[in-house]
């Protein structure tokens, strides 16, 4: 079971994601965004950061990278696809998750622990958690506020407070079949008690348990 962690120029959470996945016994490998074949992988994570310096809009350029054609293929084949922060923004730009992201309500970058509540366990991110479970996971974003006029996005994690004005207080949203999930807080940053929380583990474990041989 192998997870591809796609590296775009400007992302910066790729090593943290690999570390967190490996700590849970998973097998994650960095893949350059120009890669055209992810056939050897069973799932993919798009890590956070600032792909292409957020030029035009967050994720707007990254969606055109060759690796994204493979991400689309895997998504439609039902493989687990997780976009964290900037990765979620790429998934929205690609149309794999409905909606888009705008600047936080208070127009300032937010890096701090936030509490989220599991509201739907039918997704590759939340399947190992239980409904109503509260998790402390760090936010780290400026364009963190999700908007979805279509109403088609299914919210799986909801902020307990309302840190950024996200529609429906959405902290994580999935597609219809639940195999593609975008999450704004960083589960990989909540995998070690020494750093303040291990609540992200249940999310990443759910993702890893969703992997089936391609």
């Amino acid at each position: 079971m192998r997870v591809a962690v796609v590296v775009f120029p400007g992302v910066n959470c790729e090593h943290d994601v690999v570390q967190a996945v490996e700590a849970l016994g998973g097998d994650a490998q960095l893949v350059w965004h120009r890669e055209t074949d992810l056939g050897e992988f069973d799932g993919v994570i798009l890590p956070g950061g600032f792909a292409h310096g957020d030029a035009l809009r967050t994720g707007a350029i990254a969606r055109f990278s060759p690796a994204m054609r493979e991400v689309e293929r895997m998504a439609s084949a039902g493989a687990p696809v997780l976009g964290i922060c900037n990765g979620w923004q790429m998934l929205c730009e690609s149309g794999l998750i409905p909606g888009a992201h705008i600047a936080n309500r208070d127009l300032s970058f937010i890096c701090r622990f936030e509490e989220v509540e599991v509201v739907d366990t039918d997704s590759v991110l939340t399947r190992a958690a239980h409904p109503g479970q509260r998790l402390r996971v760090p936010l780290n974003s400026y364009e963190g506020s999700w908007v979805d006029p279509s109403g088609a996005g299914r919210v799986v994690l909801r902020y307990v407070d309302d840190p950024n004005g996200s529609q429906d207080r959405a902290a994580a949203v999935c597609n219809v079949s639940g195999n593609v999930v975008g999450v704004m807080p960083h589960p990989e940053r909540a995998t070690d008690e020494l750093l303040g929380s291990t609540d992200g583990q249940v999310l990443l474990e759910g993702f890893l348990h969703s992997l089936v041989p391609a």
Binding site: P9, G10, V11, N12, C13, H15, D16, Q19, A20, W32, G49, F50, H52, G53, D54, A55, S108, F109, I110, C111, R112, P138, N140, Y142, H186, E188, R189, T191, D192, L194, L195
Partner: protein, 714 residues
């Protein structure tokens, strides 16, 4: 600037300095040559006023791998790992254009560190402004914080700590100092050398434009007046995305052993990045300016040589590796150009449009820079301010405590540090808002601790002892995380060095810092000097800033944290007893006073207390250094973080006498040397009670937590 001035004066050079150039070359300099000398001999690049004094710093230690003089200091932390550290100022650019000034300050210090072969893992910001009740100061403060956040977050290096101070002396001249720490494997160290004849110079990164021309000379090395806004074109514009790609590309070059040496392009741009590595290696170099990739057409040779366009790096490469280097650049989507070749001899020769535009001894730009022994004089006003009383009338301990907690320099820094990514890389064990930052070193059981400290008010009253106390305070700040002090970098922010009083302050400060470092047995491995911090003839307080690195070996399994206090614990004050001295204290600032003679440091005591703190950090749930606002504020901060009250008896609760910390511990768990420690009370309830006068923890939390937000509301 007026056009009637000779060119060298327009470039910030004195007539005597110009004559030295003529003497070296034995002829009049060509325009491009004059441009190069003007930037390289600027105060900012040449340290011409400070060099004489900087030699005083102790710089040796068995763990020092690279001392001052390179792009960053490097120390050995064991297990095959080295740590690279440096601090830099971007004071004047940040006043002229706060967002870009601060942003490019971050970019510059990062390059200093990854030039050494290190991956930058953390940043600290030391920022000082005038009082926030003035709209201009609020604008500068917000702009600087946004600039640090905008660049640091996007470049992917966490900002994990720092310090703020607000004082009228910084109104016309804010201070923006940024420190960076990097990690590298021992075999990956790279130096700023041009190598041997035949080595090829490859310019990597962003295209060269007309931005930042004369930044080092016109902006950083001159004083301010009301026309300073006209200097805005001398401020560079940062692009963190380009820098991020440059970092990754350079780290790949280092990993694959593809470079002989590397030099970043910061102040003085290409002039510095060609002459310094050649000078260090004792070689010459041919540079072809036509090969430089530019952002705009028609740039002249002096412009190309002086431009401070950001996100550029010079790599010195064996001829056989050039193709591989260019391929790595292409992979990371950065531009690259072969612009020169190292030659035997010592001549830096530069061609542009087929013409020879410069031919000078490479090392002369650095080595023959003027060295000034500027006159020094103890300020005449010093006796008057020191003769003033340091007493402050305290009517009500509770009200005084609340007022101190509401001071934006003391209150919660969350408004600032939640705008910074401070968690990236999963190393931040103890983060911003604590005494020292503690970063674990993955793959080892060690951790690195850093504290950055400055105190302009203390150094105004006593530059010698004030500077020494900064070193001791930073040492105690890392010690309470479990780390032993290891090395120091310094950023010396002073006024106009042409004033004897300022030079005296500078010399005293260097002396004080040196003595403190010697007492602790730690070297200074790098630093930066920022002079001309004056506006309309008024100098800032002397404001040296210390960045101190400590090593926790091993890292405490459960390091002390402010939030770990629980009801029923004992509160101990460790260190010498308070004398009641309030000179230069936060309490004086509250009453708009500044006077008296601050308590002198005690080196032996400092060492003992640091040793105790390192030892106790492996056992105690809470250790907290006593500094701004004394025991009262220190205790309140613990109570706020832990959500628990406390009752103490403390003589002189607002005194900031040095070498003290508070410990909170379960009864009977730790034996303390009572000659150096006193039990002053216990935790419990929901009030902070000092000498019988109490205030709700919730009220303290409100004052402290909203200090900056309220100050920014005007």
């Amino acid at each position: 600037m007026t056009t009637t001035q000779p060119v060298h004066r327009q470039l910030g050079m004195t007539d005597e300095e110009y004559q030295s150039v003529v003497d070296i070359l034995e002829r009049e300099p060509r325009p491009a040559e004059l441009a190069m000398y003007s930037v390289m001999w600027s105060e900012h690049c040449s340290y011409k006023s400070s060099r004489k004094h900087l030699g005083r710093f102790p710089t040796d230690g068995p763990w020092v791998v690279v001392g001052p003089g390179e792009n960053a200091g490097v120390v050995d932390i064991g297990d095959g790992w080295l740590a690279a550290l440096r601090i830099e100022s971007h004071n004047h650019p940040s006043f002229v254009e706060p967002y870009q000034g601060a942003a490019t300050g971050v970019g510059g210090i990062l390059r200093d560190v990854f030039t050494m072969g290190a991956r930058p893992i953390a940043l600290w910001d030391q920022i000082r402004f005038g009082p926030l009740n003035e709209p201009k100061n609020r604008y500068l403060f917000k702009g600087v914080v946004s600039g640090i956040a905008g660049y640091g977050n996007a470049v992917g290096v966490p900002t994990v700590g720092g310090e703020m101070e607000f004082d009228a002396c910084y109104t016309g001249n804010p201070l923006v100092n940024v420190m960076c720490l990097g990690l590298l494997r021992r075999d990956q160290l790279v130096l700023g050398t041009a190598g041997t004849p035949g080595t090829v110079a490859v310019l990597l990164g962003k295209a060269t434009g007309r931005d930042g021309i004369g930044g080092a000379s016109v902006l950083a090395s001159a004083s301010f007046d009301d026309t300073s806004g006209e200097k805005r074109p001398s401020v560079q514009v940062g692009d963190p995305f380009e820098e991020k790609k440059l970092i990754e590309a350079c780290l790949e070059l280092y990993e694959r052993g593809l470079v002989v040496g590397v030099q970043d392009l910061g102040a003085a741009g290409l002039s510095c990045a060609t002459s310094e590595p050649a000078g260090r290696a004792g070689v010459g170099i041919d540079v072809d300016l036509d090969a430089v990739h530019t952002r705009e057409a028609g740039m002249t040779a002096p412009e190309l040589l002086m431009s401070e366009s950001q996100e550029r790096m010079m790599a010195f490469v064996e001829p056989g590796d050039v193709e591989a280097v260019l391929a790595v650049a292409a992979k990371w989507e950065i531009d690259s150009a072969v612009i020169g070749e190292v030659k035997a001899g010592n001549t830096l020769s530069v061609r542009h449009s087929g013409e020879l535009v410069a031919e000078i001894p490479a090392a002369s730009l650095a080595d023959d820079a003027p060295l000034y022994d500027r006159p020094m004089a103890r300020p005449g006003w010093l006796d008057d301010v020191r003769a003033r009383s340091d007493e402050v009338p305290i009517d009500d301990v509770a009200e005084t405590l609340l007022a101190l907690l509401a001071d934006p320099a003391i209150g919660s820094s969350a408004w600032v540090h939640t705008q910074y990514d401070h968690m990236l890389f999963l190393n931040t064990v103890v983060g911003p808002g604590s005494d020292g930052t503690l970063l674990r070193v993955k793959g080892t059981d060690k951790a690195l601790a850093v504290s950055t400290d400055g105190n302009g008010r203390l150094c105004y009253l006593d530059p010698h002892n004030g500077s020494a106390r900064l070193v001791f305070e930073a040492a105690l700040n890392v010690a309470v995380t479990g780390a032993r002090p290891m090395a120091v970098v310094d950023n010396l922010n002073f006024g106009n060095p042409e004033k004897p009083e300022v030079m005296w302050q500078f010399r005293e400060s260097v002396e004080g810092m040196s003595e403190a470092c010697e007492a602790l047995g730690i070297p200074v491995v790098g630093g930066n000097v920022s002079f001309y911090n004056e506006t309309d003839g008024v100098d800032i307080h002397p404001t040296p800033v210390v960045g101190l690195l400590g090593l926790a070996d091993p890292m405490p399994i459960d390091p002390p944290r402010l939030r770990n206090a629980r009801p029923g614990m004992e509160i101990w004050e460790v260190g010498p007893k308070a004398t009641g001295n309030l000179a230069g204290s936060a309490l004086q600032r509250l009453f708009d006073e500044l006077g008296g003679v601050p308590t002198a440091p005690d080196a032996e005591m400092a060492k003992r207390v640091v040793d105790m703190a390192v030892h106790l950090a492996h056992q105690a749930p809470v250790l907290h250094d006593v500094s701004d606002g004394g025991v009262a504020v220190t205790l309140a901060e613990i109570c706020i973080a832990s959500g628990v009250g406390a009752t103490v008896e403390a003589e002189h609760p607002f005194s900031e006498d040095p070498h003290r910390f508070l410990m909170v511990v379960s009864p009977g768990t730790i034996e303390l040397d009572t000659s150096l420690a006193r039990r002053i009370g216990e935790t419990g309830g929901d009030r902070v009670v000092i000498n019988g006068v109490g205030v709700d923890v919730a009220k303290c939390a409100d004052a402290w937590g909203n200090a900056i937000v309220r100050a920014l509301a005007g």
